[in-house]
Symmetry: C2
Subunit: 387 residues, 2 copies
């Protein structure tokens, strides 16, 4: 695969963020990523941590630096677009090795190298996952500086996708959708959820994925009512609803394609709720276009669900942001108050559930002037497989 | 698969930790896990978070509670041995949805429900990954309480494996080793690293894994010198060294089996370093048994490496703890000062590297009175596959 984000795009991202932090009177921004949420660091450097965590430090002026754990140096040098790379104990593995034989930097030594002025305001990004040791390391190095948290600065950059990013997302969805097609032919009632996961993984990597977009969902019968869940040794069985979500990652961009699937015939109750979900899903797409308020879409979603009798089956709003993470900012909720812009990307994620089962229709879309362009759209009808 | 940790084992764990926190005058212990390091929460509850994070709160007296994000309730109720479950915004996804339509608890309300006495001392566990929002949520609820961090309390429990845990680890290594056998037959020079990852994943799930023990390592040629790395679209090629590490997860316990592999013949330089690694690996195992000081093993490892001319090829010490995480406490480093005890489990992780390539011999072992019992031991010789 030759598709990848060019270096100049990474430089543009850094420059835009430097401009934003200067506007907010911030001296240094420090973004954090871990193995589960790799996005901010990858967005800025192309490096994505594994076992260890990582940070990117962006000064208001001058060159950024990548902050890594003690074992990732050769990997980071081969991967990162940011060429200043510092090893630090704060980014070590959760098992907390002490590495008495590896030389590491401290925040005090790194700050001196990346920024010549006095540090008065530091901004942390990635608040939800920002770990105490990194926070305390920063605080100790500049006790007199004011530390603020702000996820909007990077999110404002990430939210509108460049043409490169759209290419990566298209490829990521193509890989997932091809795997879906093969999986629908592969599934049999006597297989376990986890056996199907293995098949999906094989197809994703064969299709060109660099990793899974998220752990695959193959949740059968009662398990399908988990909005968030993990596949098990449960057999798919006959006439069960199966929540199938297939997600690839390509060049740092994640996809997920979700379909409710039945091996054999659905019961009437299933078919009714599956169809309600499908109606809601298509309606949501209809309502989305440049200029529309996100909250108004979420409110229409809840109203329409009530109208078709599915209001009590909803757990959360109709869409969430899509990009490097399969779930990223912004969410679309009833109280959201932002306007959809061209080249924002969303997952239209229609999850309905009751006590016995649940279902999810999920597709990626790109917001355009007159509506949305789907990133995935195959198998959008009641799926009852012959057995 | 019927093998699993029985409920009474989870209850025993909680009781032991309650005893330990009472001894340290702690009112509440709050353990944290995320999708990448799921171990503490799974160890205490059997629940493991995905997308969202999670916590377990253990009071000095009374019942523990599981703290989850707003979307994981049905999944947690089907999985957790801890029956008190509270949804909290602090454990939401990193995309920070606000869920205006879901009712959540606060730390103040949870504290009232789990502990009747005045809270004077709170202990946080999982320091390396403990996120700011959870820390600040706790602080806000009980501003007058003293907050300490302590990873030893849970680690002391986790470090000695019960017979159930050893059974899970054996199964986990069996799955990985079977996948290794098939992978050695599957690999061909024109395949990419990532295509091999797909094959491995399929074999792991077919073999009974519940997830990967860690992202698989298939690192060919220059990529093999990454102590920590990510597979790429690089072709395996002929006469390249390939760092192959296969890891399964079974019932919450992770394995990794590492072998340096060559398609065709190794160069003399490769073979010499691969053999040096193998010698070091076997020596390390010889030195390990109940009663031995961990630091002494690490020092002997560095000395022996110097003696055979591989001292400059070492990045870190010879072993790290093994259990739920494929890398967990304790590490074995030159300054370590603890004594090996029966039923501690380690990964003997012999990683050597130079500019052009790297190699890892890796196996799990159980410490016994007179030595170690390997959890994996197949293909422990120079591996040159016919092409």
């Amino acid at each position: 695969m030759n598709l990848k984000i060019p270096e100049k795009e990474f430089q543009r991202r850094i420059k835009n963020i430097q401009k934003a932090i200067r506007n907010k009177d911030i001296d240094l921004l420090i973004a954090h990523s871990n193995e589960a949420d790799f996005a901010n660091v990858r967005y800025l450097s192309n490096y994505w941590p594994i076992f260890e965590s990582a940070g990117v430090i962006i000064p208001a002026e001058g060159q950024p630096a990548l902050l890594i754990g003690p074992e990732s140096e050769t990997f980071a040098r081969d991967t990162s677009c940011i060429k200043k790379i510092y090893k630090m104990i704060e980014y070590r593995e959760s098992a907390q090795p002490e590495y008495p034989d590896i030389e590491v930097e401290t925040f005090a030594s790194v700050f001196k190298k990346v920024y010549k002025k006095k540090i008065k305001r530091i901004c942390l990004s990635g608040y939800q996952i920002f770990p105490l040791p990194v926070y305390q390391g920063i605080k100790q190095a500049v006790p007199e500086a004011k530390i603020i948290t702000d996820d909007d600065i990077i999110a404002s950059e990430r939210v509108i996708k460049s043409r490169w990013e759209l290419d990566m997302l298209k490829e990521s969805f193509k890989i997932a959708e091809n795997a879906l097609e093969k999986t629908l032919k592969f599934m049999k009632p006597e297989m376990t959820e986890l056996q199907v996961v293995g098949f999906i993984e094989k197809e994703l990597y064969l299709g060109g994925a660099e990793y899974e977009g998220h752990p695959q969902y193959v949740l059968a019968g009662k398990n399908s009512n988990h909005a968030i869940g993990r596949p098990t040794y449960t057999k798919l069985g006959r006439n069960n609803l199966i929540q199938l979500n297939i997600g690839a990652r390509f060049a740092g961009y994640s996809s997920s394609v979700g379909r409710p699937v039945c091996l054999g015939k659905m019961t009437d109750k299933m078919r009714k709720l599956v169809q309600a979900g499908l109606d809601l899903h298509f309606k949501t797409m209809e309502w989305m276009k440049e200029g529309v308020n996100a909250g108004s879409i979420a409110r229409r979603f809840f109203e329409y669900a009530d109208k078709i009798g599915a209001g009590k089956n909803i757990l959360y709003g109709p869409c969430h942001g899509l990009g490097m993470m399969e779930v990223e900012r912004p969410w679309m909720e009833t109280h959201s108050n932002y306007i959809l812009k061209e080249n924002m990307t969303f997952q239209v994620d229609t999850f309905l559930y009751c006590d016995e089962f649940g279902l999810r229709w999920e597709n990626g879309v790109v917001v355009k002037k007159n509506g949305v362009i789907p990133l995935s759209d195959r198998f959008m009808k009641i799926i009852e497989l012959e057995i």
